[in-house]
Protein backbone atom coordinates (compact mmCIF):
# COMPACT_ATOMS: atom_id res chain seq x y z
CA UNK A 1 0.00 0.00 0.00
CA UNK A 2 1.21 3.49 -0.69
CA UNK A 3 2.21 5.83 2.12
CA UNK A 4 -0.85 8.00 1.48
CA UNK A 5 -3.45 5.24 1.80
CA UNK A 6 -1.62 3.74 4.77
CA UNK A 7 -1.42 7.11 6.51
CA UNK A 8 -5.07 7.85 5.78
CA UNK A 9 -6.16 4.47 7.14
CA UNK A 10 -4.01 4.89 10.25
CA UNK A 11 -5.20 8.46 10.88
CA UNK A 12 -8.81 7.32 10.54
CA UNK A 13 -8.25 4.52 13.04
CA UNK A 14 -6.60 6.90 15.49
CA UNK A 15 -9.41 9.41 15.04
CA UNK A 16 -12.02 6.77 15.87
CA UNK A 17 -10.12 5.92 19.09
CA UNK A 18 -10.76 9.40 20.51
CA UNK A 19 -14.42 9.32 21.60
CA UNK A 20 -14.64 12.99 22.61
CA UNK A 21 -13.13 14.20 19.36
CA UNK A 22 -15.46 11.88 17.42
CA UNK A 23 -18.46 13.19 19.34
CA UNK A 24 -17.81 16.84 18.51
CA UNK A 25 -16.55 16.31 15.00
CA UNK A 26 -19.04 13.71 13.78
CA UNK A 27 -22.00 13.13 16.11
CA UNK A 28 -22.80 16.60 17.45
CA UNK A 29 -24.33 18.03 14.25
CA UNK A 30 -26.72 15.10 13.63
CA UNK A 31 -27.81 15.22 17.29
CA UNK A 32 -28.46 18.96 17.02
CA UNK A 33 -30.50 18.30 13.88
CA UNK A 34 -32.64 15.77 15.76
CA UNK A 35 -33.18 18.17 18.67
CA UNK A 36 -34.19 20.98 16.33
CA UNK A 37 -36.49 18.64 14.42
CA UNK A 38 -38.24 17.59 17.62
CA UNK A 39 -39.37 21.19 18.30
CA UNK A 40 -42.92 21.31 16.86
CA UNK A 41 -42.69 24.92 15.60
CA UNK A 42 -39.62 24.02 13.54
CA UNK A 43 -41.82 21.74 11.48
CA UNK A 44 -44.56 24.36 10.78
CA UNK A 45 -44.50 26.22 7.44
CA UNK A 46 -43.53 29.89 7.95
CA UNK A 47 -45.36 32.44 5.81
CA UNK A 48 -42.41 34.90 5.90
CA UNK A 49 -40.13 32.25 4.39
CA UNK A 50 -42.55 31.60 1.54
CA UNK A 51 -44.18 28.58 3.20
CA UNK A 52 -40.93 26.71 3.90
CA UNK A 53 -40.44 25.11 7.33
CA UNK A 54 -37.63 26.19 9.66
CA UNK A 55 -36.21 22.64 9.66
CA UNK A 56 -35.78 22.88 5.87
CA UNK A 57 -33.83 26.11 6.35
CA UNK A 58 -31.77 24.68 9.19
CA UNK A 59 -30.59 21.44 7.60
CA UNK A 60 -27.86 23.08 5.47
CA UNK A 61 -26.92 25.37 8.38
CA UNK A 62 -26.38 22.37 10.65
CA UNK A 63 -24.46 20.59 7.87
CA UNK A 64 -22.16 23.63 7.57
CA UNK A 65 -21.77 23.80 11.33
CA UNK A 66 -20.77 20.13 11.37
CA UNK A 67 -17.95 20.81 8.91
CA UNK A 68 -16.81 23.84 10.92
CA UNK A 69 -16.73 21.81 14.15
CA UNK A 70 -14.70 19.10 12.50
CA UNK A 71 -12.23 21.58 11.05
CA UNK A 72 -11.83 23.86 14.04
CA UNK A 73 -12.13 21.51 16.98
CA UNK A 74 -10.90 18.23 15.51
CA UNK A 75 -8.41 18.85 12.75
CA UNK A 76 -6.62 21.94 14.05
CA UNK A 77 -6.06 20.50 17.51
CA UNK A 78 -4.98 17.15 16.16
CA UNK A 79 -2.37 18.79 14.00
CA UNK A 80 -1.14 21.16 16.67
CA UNK A 81 -0.81 18.32 19.18
CA UNK A 82 1.11 16.20 16.64
CA UNK A 83 3.55 19.04 16.29
CA UNK A 84 3.75 19.62 20.04
CA UNK A 85 4.47 15.96 20.83
CA UNK A 86 7.09 15.53 18.14
CA UNK A 87 4.99 13.18 16.00
CA UNK A 88 5.58 15.41 12.98
CA UNK A 89 9.28 15.66 13.81
CA UNK A 90 9.64 11.91 13.78
CA UNK A 91 7.67 11.68 10.55
CA UNK A 92 10.04 14.20 9.07
CA UNK A 93 12.98 11.79 9.41
CA UNK A 94 11.21 9.47 6.94
CA UNK A 95 10.80 10.00 3.19
CA UNK A 96 7.17 11.13 3.73
CA UNK A 97 6.57 14.67 2.45
CA UNK A 98 4.51 17.22 4.40
CA UNK A 99 2.03 17.34 1.53
CA UNK A 100 1.38 13.59 1.96
CA UNK A 101 0.75 14.00 5.67
CA UNK A 102 -1.64 16.91 5.08
CA UNK A 103 -3.40 15.09 2.24
CA UNK A 104 -3.95 12.08 4.50
CA UNK A 105 -5.53 14.28 7.17
CA UNK A 106 -7.74 16.02 4.59
CA UNK A 107 -8.81 12.72 3.05
CA UNK A 108 -9.67 11.29 6.46
CA UNK A 109 -11.61 14.42 7.41
CA UNK A 110 -13.47 14.51 4.09
CA UNK A 111 -14.47 10.85 4.29
CA UNK A 112 -15.70 11.21 7.88
CA UNK A 113 -17.52 14.38 7.08
CA UNK A 114 -19.29 12.90 4.03
CA UNK A 115 -20.50 10.04 6.21
CA UNK A 116 -21.90 12.64 8.63
CA UNK A 117 -23.57 14.43 5.72
CA UNK A 118 -25.24 11.24 4.51
CA UNK A 119 -26.45 10.50 8.04
CA UNK A 120 -27.90 14.00 8.36
CA UNK A 121 -29.63 13.91 4.99
CA UNK A 122 -31.09 10.51 5.88
CA UNK A 123 -32.32 11.72 9.29
CA UNK A 124 -33.78 14.85 7.69
CA UNK A 125 -35.65 12.82 5.09
CA UNK A 126 -36.79 9.92 7.26
CA UNK A 127 -37.66 11.76 10.46
CA UNK A 128 -38.66 15.23 9.36
CA UNK A 129 -39.50 14.84 5.68
CA UNK A 130 -36.85 17.34 4.53
CA UNK A 131 -36.37 17.09 0.77
CA UNK A 132 -33.15 15.46 -0.45
CA UNK A 133 -31.01 17.73 -2.63
CA UNK A 134 -32.67 18.36 -6.01
CA UNK A 135 -29.39 19.22 -7.75
CA UNK A 136 -27.11 16.42 -6.53
CA UNK A 137 -23.87 17.25 -8.42
CA UNK A 138 -24.26 20.93 -7.44
CA UNK A 139 -24.84 19.92 -3.83
CA UNK A 140 -21.81 17.60 -3.69
CA UNK A 141 -19.50 20.10 -5.36
CA UNK A 142 -20.61 22.79 -2.91
CA UNK A 143 -20.18 20.43 0.00
CA UNK A 144 -16.63 19.51 -1.01
CA UNK A 145 -15.73 23.16 -1.51
CA UNK A 146 -17.11 24.10 1.92
CA UNK A 147 -15.29 21.17 3.51
CA UNK A 148 -11.97 22.04 1.83
CA UNK A 149 -12.29 25.72 2.71
CA UNK A 150 -12.99 24.95 6.37
CA UNK A 151 -10.27 22.28 6.61
CA UNK A 152 -7.78 24.73 5.10
CA UNK A 153 -8.81 27.28 7.74
CA UNK A 154 -8.41 24.59 10.42
CA UNK A 155 -4.90 23.74 9.20
CA UNK A 156 -4.04 27.44 9.11
CA UNK A 157 -5.15 27.79 12.75
CA UNK A 158 -2.97 24.77 13.60
CA UNK A 159 -0.01 26.27 11.74
CA UNK A 160 -0.28 29.63 13.49
CA UNK A 161 -1.14 28.47 17.01
CA UNK A 162 1.91 27.94 19.21
CA UNK A 163 0.38 24.96 21.08
CA UNK A 164 -2.58 22.60 20.92
CA UNK A 165 -4.27 24.52 23.75
CA UNK A 166 -4.07 27.78 21.90
CA UNK A 167 -5.17 26.00 18.71
CA UNK A 168 -8.42 25.09 20.43
CA UNK A 169 -8.87 28.63 21.80
CA UNK A 170 -8.21 30.24 18.41
CA UNK A 171 -10.43 27.58 16.81
CA UNK A 172 -13.42 28.63 18.93
CA UNK A 173 -12.69 32.29 18.27
CA UNK A 174 -12.94 31.63 14.55
CA UNK A 175 -15.84 29.19 14.88
CA UNK A 176 -18.47 31.48 16.40
CA UNK A 177 -18.43 34.35 13.86
CA UNK A 178 -18.36 31.82 11.02
CA UNK A 179 -21.43 29.94 12.19
CA UNK A 180 -23.16 33.23 12.99
CA UNK A 181 -22.83 34.19 9.33
CA UNK A 182 -23.92 30.69 8.36
CA UNK A 183 -27.24 31.66 10.00
CA UNK A 184 -27.26 29.44 13.08
CA UNK A 185 -28.85 32.13 15.25
CA UNK A 186 -30.39 34.23 12.52
CA UNK A 187 -31.06 32.49 9.20
CA UNK A 188 -29.76 34.34 6.17
CA UNK A 189 -33.28 35.04 4.98
CA UNK A 190 -33.90 37.04 8.17
CA UNK A 191 -30.60 39.02 7.97
CA UNK A 192 -30.58 42.64 6.82
CA UNK A 193 -28.77 43.50 3.59
CA UNK A 194 -25.47 44.44 5.22
CA UNK A 195 -25.28 41.25 7.27
CA UNK A 196 -26.27 39.15 4.30
CA UNK A 197 -23.60 40.75 2.11
CA UNK A 198 -20.96 39.99 4.74
CA UNK A 199 -22.38 36.49 5.05
CA UNK A 200 -22.08 36.02 1.26
CA UNK A 201 -18.33 36.57 1.59
CA UNK A 202 -17.76 34.11 4.45
CA UNK A 203 -17.13 30.45 3.64
CA UNK A 204 -20.09 29.17 5.63
CA UNK A 205 -22.50 31.95 4.54
CA UNK A 206 -21.72 31.34 0.87
CA UNK A 207 -21.74 27.58 1.51
CA UNK A 208 -25.14 27.51 3.24
CA UNK A 209 -26.75 29.57 0.46
CA UNK A 210 -25.23 27.36 -2.22
CA UNK A 211 -26.37 24.20 -0.40
CA UNK A 212 -29.86 25.68 -0.08
CA UNK A 213 -29.99 26.54 -3.78
CA UNK A 214 -28.85 23.01 -4.69
CA UNK A 215 -31.43 21.50 -2.33
CA UNK A 216 -34.11 23.47 -4.18
CA UNK A 217 -32.90 21.98 -7.47
CA UNK A 218 -30.94 24.95 -8.82
CA UNK A 219 -27.23 25.27 -9.57
CA UNK A 220 -25.54 27.32 -6.84
CA UNK A 221 -24.72 30.90 -7.80
CA UNK A 222 -21.29 31.32 -9.36
CA UNK A 223 -20.45 34.04 -6.85
CA UNK A 224 -20.83 31.69 -3.89
CA UNK A 225 -18.64 29.04 -5.49
CA UNK A 226 -16.02 31.67 -6.30
CA UNK A 227 -16.06 32.85 -2.67
CA UNK A 228 -15.48 29.27 -1.51
CA UNK A 229 -12.65 28.75 -4.00
CA UNK A 230 -11.02 31.99 -2.88
CA UNK A 231 -11.09 30.82 0.75
CA UNK A 232 -9.58 27.45 -0.19
CA UNK A 233 -6.74 29.08 -2.10
CA UNK A 234 -6.04 31.82 0.45
CA UNK A 235 -6.24 29.69 3.60
CA UNK A 236 -4.54 26.72 1.92
CA UNK A 237 -1.62 28.84 0.69
CA UNK A 238 -1.19 30.48 4.10
CA UNK A 239 -1.39 27.12 5.88
CA UNK A 240 1.31 25.72 3.58
CA UNK A 241 3.40 28.88 4.05
CA UNK A 242 3.26 28.73 7.84
CA UNK A 243 3.40 24.95 8.19
CA UNK A 244 6.00 23.93 10.78
CA UNK A 245 7.30 20.46 11.59
CA UNK A 246 8.19 21.46 15.13
Amino acid sequence: MSALTKLTATETRLFLREPIVVFFAVAFAPILLIILGLIPSMREPVADLGGVRMIDVYLPIVVAMGIALFALSGLSQLFASYREKGVLRRLRTTPVKPATMISAQLLMATIMSIITLIVMLAIGKAAFDVDLPGQIPGYLITYLLVALAMFAIGLLVAALAPSSRSASAVGSLVFFPLIFFAGLWLPRAAMNDTLRTISDLTPLGAGVQALQDATGGQWPQAMHLVVLLAWIIAAGALAARYFRWE
Binding site: M1, A3, L7, T10, L14, R17, K85, V87, T93, P95
Partner: protein, 303 residues
Protein backbone atom coordinates in the same frame (compact mmCIF):
# COMPACT_ATOMS: atom_id res chain seq x y z
CA UNK B 1 35.15 5.58 0.69
CA UNK B 2 33.50 7.31 3.63
CA UNK B 3 29.76 6.79 4.10
CA UNK B 4 29.25 10.09 5.94
CA UNK B 5 31.40 13.10 5.18
CA UNK B 6 31.13 16.30 7.16
CA UNK B 7 33.30 19.17 6.00
CA UNK B 8 33.71 22.38 7.94
CA UNK B 9 30.14 22.35 9.26
CA UNK B 10 28.90 25.63 10.75
CA UNK B 11 25.51 26.18 12.36
CA UNK B 12 24.42 29.35 14.15
CA UNK B 13 21.32 30.11 16.17
CA UNK B 14 21.13 33.89 16.10
CA UNK B 15 24.30 35.16 17.77
CA UNK B 16 25.27 31.77 19.15
CA UNK B 17 27.47 29.52 17.02
CA UNK B 18 26.42 25.99 18.01
CA UNK B 19 28.74 24.16 15.61
CA UNK B 20 31.91 25.87 14.48
CA UNK B 21 33.83 24.22 11.67
CA UNK B 22 33.43 20.54 12.49
CA UNK B 23 34.79 17.97 9.99
CA UNK B 24 34.90 14.19 10.14
CA UNK B 25 34.34 11.14 7.97
CA UNK B 26 32.60 7.93 9.00
CA UNK B 27 33.63 4.66 7.35
CA UNK B 28 31.08 2.01 6.32
CA UNK B 29 30.35 -0.55 9.05
CA UNK B 30 31.70 1.59 11.87
CA UNK B 31 30.07 2.51 15.13
CA UNK B 32 31.15 6.13 15.20
CA UNK B 33 30.58 8.02 18.43
CA UNK B 34 30.01 11.69 18.99
CA UNK B 35 30.94 12.47 22.55
CA UNK B 36 30.67 15.74 24.40
CA UNK B 37 29.01 17.57 27.28
CA UNK B 38 25.45 18.88 27.06
CA UNK B 39 25.20 21.86 24.77
CA UNK B 40 28.47 21.02 22.98
CA UNK B 41 26.75 20.88 19.60
CA UNK B 42 26.42 17.09 19.24
CA UNK B 43 22.69 17.04 18.49
CA UNK B 44 22.92 20.06 16.17
CA UNK B 45 25.67 18.26 14.24
CA UNK B 46 23.61 15.11 13.73
CA UNK B 47 20.48 17.11 12.95
CA UNK B 48 22.37 18.75 10.10
CA UNK B 49 23.44 15.28 8.89
CA UNK B 50 19.79 14.17 9.09
CA UNK B 51 18.78 17.27 7.07
CA UNK B 52 16.51 18.41 9.88
CA UNK B 53 18.47 21.65 10.11
CA UNK B 54 19.96 23.80 7.40
CA UNK B 55 23.69 24.36 8.00
CA UNK B 56 25.06 27.91 7.73
CA UNK B 57 28.25 26.63 6.20
CA UNK B 58 30.12 23.52 5.11
CA UNK B 59 29.15 20.39 3.22
CA UNK B 60 27.63 17.07 4.28
CA UNK B 61 27.17 13.95 2.21
CA UNK B 62 25.62 10.65 3.29
CA UNK B 63 26.16 7.70 0.91
CA UNK B 64 27.19 10.29 -1.64
CA UNK B 65 23.90 12.21 -1.28
CA UNK B 66 24.14 15.92 -0.52
CA UNK B 67 22.22 16.53 2.74
CA UNK B 68 21.19 19.96 1.48
CA UNK B 69 19.83 18.55 -1.77
CA UNK B 70 17.52 15.60 -2.23
CA UNK B 71 16.20 14.95 1.28
CA UNK B 72 13.78 12.30 -0.03
CA UNK B 73 16.71 10.14 -1.22
CA UNK B 74 18.71 10.89 1.92
CA UNK B 75 15.86 9.65 4.10
CA UNK B 76 15.68 6.38 2.17
CA UNK B 77 19.23 5.54 3.30
CA UNK B 78 19.40 7.21 6.71
CA UNK B 79 17.31 6.09 9.68
CA UNK B 80 17.09 8.50 12.58
CA UNK B 81 16.25 7.96 16.19
CA UNK B 82 15.58 11.33 17.78
CA UNK B 83 15.65 12.60 21.31
CA UNK B 84 12.19 13.53 22.50
CA UNK B 85 9.87 12.63 19.73
CA UNK B 86 6.76 10.60 20.21
CA UNK B 87 3.98 8.78 18.46
CA UNK B 88 0.26 9.27 18.98
CA UNK B 89 -0.60 7.65 22.33
CA UNK B 90 -3.21 5.35 20.84
CA UNK B 91 -1.12 4.09 17.95
CA UNK B 92 -0.23 0.43 18.51
CA UNK B 93 3.28 -0.97 18.12
CA UNK B 94 2.36 -3.16 15.14
CA UNK B 95 0.45 -0.35 13.45
CA UNK B 96 3.36 2.04 13.83
CA UNK B 97 5.77 -0.47 12.29
CA UNK B 98 3.43 -1.26 9.41
CA UNK B 99 2.79 2.43 8.76
CA UNK B 100 6.46 3.44 8.83
CA UNK B 101 7.50 0.53 6.65
CA UNK B 102 5.08 1.80 3.98
CA UNK B 103 7.16 4.99 3.68
CA UNK B 104 10.23 3.24 2.25
CA UNK B 105 11.09 1.78 -1.12
CA UNK B 106 12.72 -1.33 0.28
CA UNK B 107 11.61 -1.76 3.90
CA UNK B 108 12.96 -4.34 6.35
CA UNK B 109 10.72 -7.15 7.58
CA UNK B 110 9.18 -5.23 10.47
CA UNK B 111 8.00 -8.35 12.29
CA UNK B 112 11.52 -9.68 12.43
CA UNK B 113 12.75 -6.31 13.61
CA UNK B 114 10.18 -6.27 16.41
CA UNK B 115 11.30 -9.76 17.35
CA UNK B 116 14.95 -8.66 17.47
CA UNK B 117 13.99 -5.73 19.66
CA UNK B 118 12.02 -7.94 21.99
CA UNK B 119 8.73 -6.17 21.42
CA UNK B 120 6.66 -8.97 19.93
CA UNK B 121 4.65 -9.33 23.14
CA UNK B 122 3.76 -5.64 22.85
CA UNK B 123 2.55 -5.78 19.24
CA UNK B 124 -0.97 -4.67 20.17
CA UNK B 125 0.00 -2.31 22.97
CA UNK B 126 -0.67 1.39 22.38
CA UNK B 127 2.41 3.65 22.41
CA UNK B 128 1.11 5.59 25.41
CA UNK B 129 1.16 2.43 27.56
CA UNK B 130 4.78 1.43 26.84
CA UNK B 131 7.56 1.84 29.40
CA UNK B 132 10.47 4.19 28.74
CA UNK B 133 12.69 1.33 27.60
CA UNK B 134 10.01 -0.09 25.33
CA UNK B 135 9.40 3.32 23.74
CA UNK B 136 13.13 3.65 23.19
CA UNK B 137 13.32 0.22 21.54
CA UNK B 138 10.35 1.00 19.32
CA UNK B 139 12.05 4.21 18.39
CA UNK B 140 15.14 2.25 17.32
CA UNK B 141 12.94 -0.18 15.39
CA UNK B 142 11.33 2.73 13.52
CA UNK B 143 14.75 4.12 12.68
CA UNK B 144 15.68 0.75 11.16
CA UNK B 145 12.45 -0.19 9.41
CA UNK B 146 13.49 1.46 6.14
CA UNK B 147 16.56 -0.83 5.88
CA UNK B 148 18.87 2.18 6.18
CA UNK B 149 22.59 2.04 5.44
CA UNK B 150 23.21 4.55 8.20
CA UNK B 151 21.40 4.79 11.54
CA UNK B 152 21.76 7.84 13.77
CA UNK B 153 21.05 7.12 17.42
CA UNK B 154 20.86 10.24 19.59
CA UNK B 155 21.25 9.64 23.34
CA UNK B 156 19.55 6.32 22.83
CA UNK B 157 20.22 4.94 26.32
CA UNK B 158 19.47 8.11 28.30
CA UNK B 159 16.80 7.40 30.87
CA UNK B 160 17.22 3.62 30.72
CA UNK B 161 18.06 1.54 33.78
CA UNK B 162 21.50 -0.19 33.79
CA UNK B 163 20.13 -3.54 32.59
CA UNK B 164 18.14 -1.97 29.77
CA UNK B 165 21.22 0.05 28.84
CA UNK B 166 23.34 -3.09 28.54
CA UNK B 167 20.61 -4.72 26.44
CA UNK B 168 20.58 -1.67 24.18
CA UNK B 169 24.36 -1.95 23.74
CA UNK B 170 24.06 -5.58 22.67
CA UNK B 171 21.36 -4.55 20.29
CA UNK B 172 23.43 -1.77 18.74
CA UNK B 173 26.25 -4.24 18.13
CA UNK B 174 23.83 -6.62 16.48
CA UNK B 175 22.56 -3.83 14.23
CA UNK B 176 26.09 -3.09 13.16
CA UNK B 177 26.58 -6.78 12.44
CA UNK B 178 23.70 -6.47 9.95
CA UNK B 179 25.88 -4.05 8.01
CA UNK B 180 24.39 -0.78 9.22
CA UNK B 181 26.82 2.05 9.90
CA UNK B 182 25.97 3.67 13.22
CA UNK B 183 26.42 7.25 14.30
CA UNK B 184 25.98 7.25 18.06
CA UNK B 185 25.55 10.44 20.06
CA UNK B 186 26.27 9.94 23.72
CA UNK B 187 27.45 11.54 26.89
CA UNK B 188 28.17 8.23 28.62
CA UNK B 189 31.86 7.35 28.73
CA UNK B 190 31.23 3.70 29.41
CA UNK B 191 28.95 3.51 26.40
CA UNK B 192 31.45 5.22 24.12
CA UNK B 193 34.28 3.03 25.35
CA UNK B 194 32.34 -0.19 24.98
CA UNK B 195 30.67 0.43 21.60
CA UNK B 196 32.53 2.90 19.46
CA UNK B 197 35.21 2.06 16.94
CA UNK B 198 36.11 5.73 16.73
CA UNK B 199 35.05 8.81 18.61
CA UNK B 200 34.70 12.46 17.75
CA UNK B 201 34.97 14.56 20.90
CA UNK B 202 33.05 17.81 20.50
CA UNK B 203 33.27 20.68 22.93
CA UNK B 204 31.77 24.15 22.54
CA UNK B 205 30.97 23.55 18.88
CA UNK B 206 34.46 22.40 17.91
CA UNK B 207 36.00 19.01 17.24
CA UNK B 208 38.69 18.61 19.90
CA UNK B 209 39.77 15.04 19.11
CA UNK B 210 39.03 12.22 16.69
CA UNK B 211 40.47 8.81 17.52
CA UNK B 212 39.74 5.30 18.75
CA UNK B 213 38.82 5.08 22.46
CA UNK B 214 42.25 3.49 23.14
CA UNK B 215 43.95 6.17 21.06
CA UNK B 216 42.27 8.92 23.06
CA UNK B 217 43.38 7.32 26.31
CA UNK B 218 46.94 6.98 25.03
CA UNK B 219 47.11 10.67 24.23
CA UNK B 220 46.89 11.48 27.88
CA UNK B 221 50.07 10.74 29.80
CA UNK B 222 50.45 7.13 30.75
CA UNK B 223 50.50 7.77 34.45
CA UNK B 224 49.23 4.97 36.67
CA UNK B 225 47.91 5.29 40.16
CA UNK B 226 48.46 2.62 42.83
CA UNK B 227 46.53 2.57 46.10
CA UNK B 228 47.21 0.21 48.99
CA UNK B 229 47.11 -0.11 52.75
CA UNK B 230 50.67 -0.78 54.05
CA UNK B 231 50.94 -3.37 56.84
CA UNK B 232 53.52 -1.15 58.59
CA UNK B 233 54.52 2.52 58.26
CA UNK B 234 56.61 3.19 55.16
CA UNK B 235 59.15 5.95 54.79
CA UNK B 236 57.96 7.92 51.73
CA UNK B 237 61.52 8.60 50.73
CA UNK B 238 62.03 4.90 49.99
CA UNK B 239 59.36 5.23 47.31
CA UNK B 240 60.08 8.70 45.96
CA UNK B 241 63.65 7.58 45.39
CA UNK B 242 62.43 5.19 42.71
CA UNK B 243 62.75 6.58 39.17
CA UNK B 244 59.31 5.18 38.23
CA UNK B 245 57.50 7.04 41.03
CA UNK B 246 56.22 10.57 40.52
CA UNK B 247 54.25 11.32 43.70
CA UNK B 248 53.43 9.64 47.01
CA UNK B 249 50.51 10.75 49.14
CA UNK B 250 48.87 9.49 52.25
CA UNK B 251 45.06 9.20 52.16
CA UNK B 252 43.81 7.97 55.53
CA UNK B 253 45.28 4.52 56.06
CA UNK B 254 46.15 4.25 52.43
CA UNK B 255 49.10 5.31 50.35
CA UNK B 256 48.51 6.61 46.85
CA UNK B 257 51.50 6.34 44.54
CA UNK B 258 51.50 7.66 41.00
CA UNK B 259 54.11 6.90 38.45
CA UNK B 260 54.96 5.69 34.98
CA UNK B 261 56.38 2.59 33.37
CA UNK B 262 56.68 -0.46 35.57
CA UNK B 263 55.86 1.46 38.72
CA UNK B 264 53.85 -1.40 40.24
CA UNK B 265 56.78 -3.84 40.20
CA UNK B 266 59.20 -1.22 41.50
CA UNK B 267 56.92 -0.30 44.43
CA UNK B 268 56.08 -3.88 45.44
CA UNK B 269 59.75 -4.87 45.29
CA UNK B 270 60.70 -2.04 47.69
CA UNK B 271 57.85 -2.96 50.02
CA UNK B 272 58.84 -6.67 50.06
CA UNK B 273 62.45 -5.77 50.80
CA UNK B 274 61.18 -3.85 53.88
CA UNK B 275 58.84 -6.63 55.01
CA UNK B 276 55.75 -4.54 54.31
CA UNK B 277 52.77 -6.09 52.59
CA UNK B 278 50.32 -4.08 50.51
CA UNK B 279 46.69 -4.74 51.50
CA UNK B 280 43.71 -3.82 49.27
CA UNK B 281 46.09 -3.13 46.40
CA UNK B 282 44.46 -1.37 43.43
CA UNK B 283 45.88 -0.04 40.21
CA UNK B 284 43.91 2.65 38.36
CA UNK B 285 44.72 3.18 34.74
CA UNK B 286 43.85 6.18 32.67
CA UNK B 287 40.26 5.94 31.44
CA UNK B 288 38.39 7.65 28.67
CA UNK B 289 37.00 9.85 31.39
CA UNK B 290 40.52 11.07 32.24
CA UNK B 291 41.20 11.55 28.54
CA UNK B 292 38.07 13.64 28.24
CA UNK B 293 39.10 15.83 31.15
CA UNK B 294 42.51 16.27 29.62
CA UNK B 295 41.00 17.24 26.26
CA UNK B 296 38.25 19.58 27.38
CA UNK B 297 39.35 20.62 30.83
CA UNK B 298 36.25 19.28 32.54
CA UNK B 299 34.36 16.15 33.43
CA UNK B 300 31.61 15.01 31.11
CA UNK B 301 28.69 14.51 33.43
CA UNK B 302 29.02 17.60 35.58
CA UNK B 303 30.08 19.73 32.63
Amino acid sequence: MAIIEVNDLVKRYGEHTAVNGVSFAVEPGEIFGILGPNGAGKTTTVECIEALREPDGGAITVCGIDARGDTGELRQVLGAQLQESELPDKLRVGEAMELYSSFYRDPADWRELIETLNLTAKLNAPFGKLSGGQKQRLSIALALVGNPRVAVLDEVTTGLDPQARRDAWDLIERIRDRGVTILLVTHFMEEAERLCDRLAVIDAGRLVALDTPAGLVARVDERQRIRFRPSAPVDHRLLTALPEVTTVERAGHQLVVTGTGNVLLAVTTVLARNQVTAGDLRVDQTTLDDAFVALTGRRLLDA
